[in-house]
C-alpha cells in the first residue's frame, strides 16, 4: 500500500516533469476524449445502439489493415492507420445505417456481418502487408501511454467536430432518437440525422480505439453513460455526468497503472465497470427503501 502511495506521488511528479511528455499527452488526450465519449455515449445508451458502436470498433481493424497494406505496397505515405480507421468507421456506420433504413434488413444481422468481415479483412491485409511484421496487438488492445503530440492534435480536432455538431443539432438528434417517424412527418430529414448520429459515433470510436484498443473501446462509450443514466432524466445532464465520470476513470486509470506498471486501458475499463456495478447496487437499494 505504501509502495502504491509512493507510486502515486511519482505519477503526479512525472506529470510536472519535462521528460515525460507522453504521460501528459496521455492524460490530456484522455480528458479531451472523455467529453466526446460522454456526449456520444449518452446517445448510444439512451437510443440503445451500443452494439452498433461495438461493430464499428471491430470493423476498424479492416481500415487499419488496408491502410498498412496500401501504404507499404504503393508507398502511399498519406494512407496512415488513423486515416484507414476513420474511413472504415464512417463506411461501417453508413452501411449499417443505410441497410437498416433503406433495405429494411435486420439491424442485428448487419451488425454481425460488419463486425466479423471488418476484422477478417483487417487480419488478411495485415498478413499480406509487405515489410516487417505488424504488431496488431497495439491496435486491438491500444495503449494510451503511446499518445504522441500529433495524436493529441487529432484527438482535439475529432473531439471539436463531435461536440460542435452535437451542440448544433442537439434537439434534432434527440427528437430522432425518441421518435424518428414523427420527425420525418414534420418535414425534417430524420434518416439523414440518424446517419449523422452514426457518423458521430464512428468518429468517437476512432478516438476510443486509439486510447483503449478496439476490444475495450465500447466500454468507455457505454459504461460512463449507463452509470449517468441512473442519476438523471435529462439527456444533457447524462452527457455532462458521463463526461465527468469518463475523465475520472481515465485519470484514475493512468494514476493507478503508472506506479503498478499495469496496462492502462484495462484498468480504466475496470474502474468504469466497477462504478457501473456500484451504481446498480446503490439505485437498487434506494428503490427497495422507497418501496
Amino acid at each position: 500500500m505504501a509502495d502504491f502511495i509512493t507510486g502515486l506521488g511519482e505519477f503526479f511528479a512525472a506529470l510536472a516533469s519535462p521528460n515525460t511528455a507522453l504521460l501528459r499527452h496521455a492524460l490530456l488526450a484522455g480528458l479531451i476524449a472523455s467529453v466526446t465519449f460522454g456526449i456520444v455515449g449518452g446517445f448510444v445508451v439512451t437510443r440503445r445502439i451500443s452494439y452498433i458502436a461495438a461493430a464499428i470498433s471491430h470493423s476498424i481493424l479492416g481500415g487499419i489493415g488496408a491502410s498498412i497494406y496500401l501504404s507499404r505496397s504503393y508507398d502511399w505515405a498519406w494512407c496512415t492507420p488513423l486515416f484507414g480507421s476513420i474511413v472504415a468507421a464512417l463506411v461501417s456506420a453508413l452501411v449499417i445505417g443505410m441497410v437498416s433504413l433503406v433495405a429494411r434488413e435486420r439491424e442485428d444481422t448487419i451488425i454481425g456481418a460488419i463486425w466479423s468481415t471488418g476484422m477478417a479483412a483487417g487480419v488478411l491485409f495485415i498478413y499480406f502487408a509487405p515489410g516487417p511484421a505488424v504488431n496488431a496487438e497495439s491496435y486491438i488492445f491500444g495503449n494510451i501511454l503511446l499518445t504522441s503530440k500529433s495524436d493529441l492534435i487529432v484527438t482535439g480536432i475529432l473531439g471539436c467536430i463531435v461536440v460542435g455538431v452535437t451542440a448544433f443539432y442537439y434537439h434534432k438528434l434527440v427528437a430522432v432518437c425518441f421518435d424518428e417517424e414523427f420527425v420525418k412527418l414534420r418535414g425534417v430529414p430524420a434518416q439523414a440525422y440518424y446517419l449523422l448520429l452514426l457518423c458521430l459515433i464512428a468518429l468517437s470510436v476512432v478516438l476510443l480505439v486509439r486510447l483503449t484498443g478496439m476490444i475495450l473501446a465500447i466500454a468507455l462509450l457505454v459504461l460512463p453513460a449507463a452509470t449517468a443514466v441512473r442519476f438523471s432524466h435529462r439527456l444533457w445532464v447524462i452527457m455532462l455526468l458521463a463526461s465527468v465520470l469518463c475523465m475520472a476513470f481515465t485519470t484514475g486509470g493512468l494514476a493507478f497503472s503508472y506506479p503498478t506498471q499495469t496496462p492502462t486501458g484495462p484498468v480504466v475499463v475496470l474502474f468504469a465497470g466497477l462504478t457501473y456495478g456500484l451504481s446498480l447496487l446503490w439505485r437498487g437499494r434506494r428503490a427497495k427503501k422507497t418501496r
Partner: protein, 255 residues
Amino acid sequence: MSVPVIQFDRVSFGYGPTRVLEEVSFTVEAGQSTCVIGPNGGGKTTLLRLALGLLEPQRGEVRLFGEKPRDAVRRIGYVPQAMRFDPLFPVNALDIVLMGRIERVRFGFFSKACRLAAQAALAEVGLEAEARTPFANLSGGQRQRVLIARALASGADLLLLDEPTANVDLTVEAQFLDSLDRLRQRATVLMVTHDIDLISRLGDTVLCVNHRVHRHGVGDLHGELLREIFSGEFRLEHDRRSRHQAGDHSACQHG
C-alpha cells in the same frame, strides 16, 4: 366548394400478394371528427399510414388539403400510441411537446415563441404543471396527452390519432376525453379506435374498414352492424368495459 381535408380516391394497397385495402374512396371535410374502426388486419393502420404519406398507394390517389400527403405534411399532427416509446428515454414532457416544432429549430435553439406554444399546448391538455416531469414518471394517460400536446404545438389543421385511448387507465379516461374533445374545436380529427365510448362521444362519422371502407353516422352503429363489421373475430373494447363494470348494456346503445 371547399377542398376536402382528406380525400381517398379508389385507393388500393397490399403487402406482397395480400391486398389490404381495395378501391377505397372517402372524403373527410374540414371540422369533422371521424373514427376509423374495423377488425385486426382489416387495414386501419395501413389507411392511417397512407394518409400520413408513410406509404404510397399502389393504385388510386390520396390527397390532403388538395395536395399530396408529402407536401401537406406540416399541416398534419400525428398522435401515435404512447406505448410505442421507450418509457426510460431521458426527456421531460416539455421536451417532447417542443418536438412538435422541431422543424423550427434555428442554430440549435428553439425560439421563445416555440417554447410558449409548447407550454400553451401542455396547458390545453391539462398538463402545464407536469412540463418538467420526466416522461418515465408520467402515467400512461399523461404520456398519451403529452403526445396530443405535441401534435397541437405543431399548429396542425388535421390530427391523425392511432388508438388514443389504448392503455389509458379508466380512472383518468374522463379527463383524457375532455382533452380530445377540445381538439375537435380547433382541428379536423381522424382517429383509429376500438373504443365505442370514444366514438359515441367524439365521432361525427365512422369509417368501418375491412379491406373496403363503409361510412356510417355514429347513430347508425348498432350491435348487428358491429358484429357484421368485425365478423365475430374481434371483441370490442366496450365488451371489456362491460365486463369490468358488470353493466347490462350493449354496444348499440352507444350508437
